[in-house]
């Protein structure tokens, strides 16, 4: 791993004296990502389409090359299984409305967990309500998924199990093997919300073998406005598009017989964002420099120190284990009151329910203070954070 001081230079945002501890909301963007997006607009510009000009061909090629790069990164053999979407939320809703809706029967159930982000929770709740289907919500135990309940809840009637690969509150990784095994056993499909996991673990699709997996570019050093949907080929081919329009049509006959292209194009209607796609492709060069395990160990070191200090401090509830995300509460202080003190030290972190309100259903607290760390953070920044926490305690307690 490069020296921290070198790494920090790659991220212009923190060179303004900001302490960025909100990587789980969106990761910092390295210069190469920012610059390549501009480069696209300056030197390539044109819309992607299946036109006949060479410029058009070249930009289309950029998109397809990126698709291939992503497939390789995730060890997906067939790149047509990589669909470009808007973000994780979009990807999940596509599966809910484009596949699950079509395949559900009245005695099906859907399994989700209390640990989900709203984006992998609300779509399922609403679909189940609309179709009058049972939605089974696996409860938590000690802020973690209760795996024995999970195994109990997933049964022969489970059409799909929707589960996060890593909680955006606790940062704890899901034991995906247990879940996928159970799903295989009873024939449930599985969709993995890898929005958080993607930046912390090298995902091997062939090994993990999920039916669907989603993530957002913006949480993997990439630009906003770009999401990924991976799916098994036969499932993607079965999917009904949730958006109809340009680019997906192969040809029409008699005005109303519309013939569609094959996947991935059939599921990517409307003008895509080739600038974002090009920019995202540069991420895969960037992360070559950062051995993901080494980076994780570095971050784990920082958070081990932080958690140790928080416990030493006292009056603090910690919901996390050492890892990239550390959520906690200072007893007696509302997270939003604390946030004022972080602001004054130019520390960016997140407070509140973090779009994962089910987590708080059985807790007294309705929110947390979340510190989420990235490769750019260092021990001095943790110390500044700890000073802020001391001040908060001093003021409020």
């Amino acid at each position: 791993m490069k020296a921290n001081i070198e790494i920090r230079k790659e991220f212009p945002f923190i060179n303004q004296g900001i302490i960025y501890m909100d990587s789980a909301a969106t990761s910092l963007k390295p210069n190469c990502v920012i610059d390549s997006q501009s480069e696209y607009y300056k030197t390539m510009t044109v819309n992607v389409g299946r036109g006949s000009s060479i410029h058009n061909f070249n930009t289309t090629n950029i998109v397809e090359k990126t698709r291939n790069t992503i497939a390789q990164y995730l060890n997906i053999t067939d790149e047509t299984q990589v669909i470009f979407t808007q973000n994780s939320t979009d990807s999940i809703n596509m599966v809910a409305n484009g596949w699950v809706r079509q395949n559900i029967t009245s005695n099906s159930n859907i399994v989700i967990t209390q640990l989900e982000h709203h984006s992998n929770y609300v779509p399922w709740i609403e679909l189940c309500k609309e179709l009058n289907i049972e939605c089974r919500i696996v409860p938590l135990e000690n802020y973690e998924i209760n795996y024995s309940k999970l195994i109990e809840y997933i049964n022969e009637h489970t059409l799909i199990t929707a589960i996060t690969g890593m909680s955006n509150i606790t940062g704890i990784e899901t034991n995906l093997e247990v879940v996928t095994n159970r799903c295989r056993e009873v024939g449930s499909k599985i969709i993995i919300d890898a929005a958080q996991l993607i930046v912390h673990k090298r995902i091997d699709i062939q090994q993990l073998d999920p039916d669907f997996l989603v993530f957002s570019a913006h949480k993997l050093y990439g630009p906003f406005g770009l999401g990924i949907l991976y799916g098994k080929k036969n499932l993607l081919e079965e999917m009904t598009p949730v958006r109809y329009g340009g680019n997906m049509v192969s040809y029409t006959s008699n005005l109303t017989n519309i013939h569609y292209k094959d996947i991935p194009f059939r599921l990517e209607s409307g003008t895509q964002n080739p600038a974002a796609i090009y920019s995202f492709s540069s991420v895969f060069n960037f992360i070559k420099d950062y051995d993901i395990e080494e980076t994780e160990n570095y971050i784990k070191g920082l958070s081990t120190y932080l958690i140790h200090k928080l416990k030493e401090e006292g009056d603090i509830i910690v919901y996390s284990q050492p890892g990239s995300i550390i959520s906690f509460n200072i007893q007696g202080v509302h997270p939003h009151d604390a946030s004022q003190f972080f602001d004054e030290k130019n520390i960016i972190l997140r407070t509140g329910n973090l779009c994962a309100s089910p987590f708080f259903a059985n807790l007294e607290e309705s929110g947390v203070i979340r510190v989420s760390l990235g490769v750019h953070n260092n021990i001095e920044e943790i110390d500044t954070l700890l000073i802020a926490i001391k001040e908060i305690k001093g003021f409020f307690l």
């Binding site: 939003h336 329910n353 309100s357």
Partner: protein, 134 residues
């Protein structure tokens, strides 16, 4: 922390109106969608005069103190809606100065400089407006 004035902290720490009113005539829930803070207002209203008012709820110091102070100044008044309008205007940067019994509301003037927290201070007042208009 200039935001957390002493008066404000006093109301947060030792609230005087944070309980469920007995025999209330009207009740109203309010939520701040930006953070989940919630409040329930209880009022006894007679001939448009707020004879009694209290609240319960869960939220940050700003929203809870704002609720407590609101209850304090509104008791035995009939012009809650107008005060609410003035209070909102003050937070939005208008040069408004409360006087007499309402003077305490001026502690929230500082919120002009903390736009991210305005909605906290406004939560009880918004809930009040809904209650009075319903």
């Amino acid at each position: 922390m200039s935001l957390y004035k002493e008066t404000l902290m006093k109301h947060f720490r030792n609230p005087e109106h944070k309980f469920e009113l007995e025999n209330f005539s009207k009740k109203q829930d309010g939520v701040n969608p930006s953070c989940g803070d919630n409040i329930t207002l209880y009022t006894k209203i007679n001939n448009s005069i707020i004879e009694d008012i209290s609240y319960t709820g869960n939220g940050c110091a700003i929203s809870m103190a704002s609720a407590d102070i609101m209850c304090e100044v509104l008791k035995n008044r009939d012009n809650g809606v107008n005060i609410s309008l003035d209070f909102t205007s003050m937070l939005n940067g208008e040069d408004i100065n409360f006087t007499n019994e309402l003077e305490v509301l001026n502690v929230f003037k500082e919120m002009q400089n903390y736009p991210a927290r305005k909605s906290c201070a406004l939560l009880p007042w918004k809930t009040l407006t809904t209650l009075l208009n319903s």
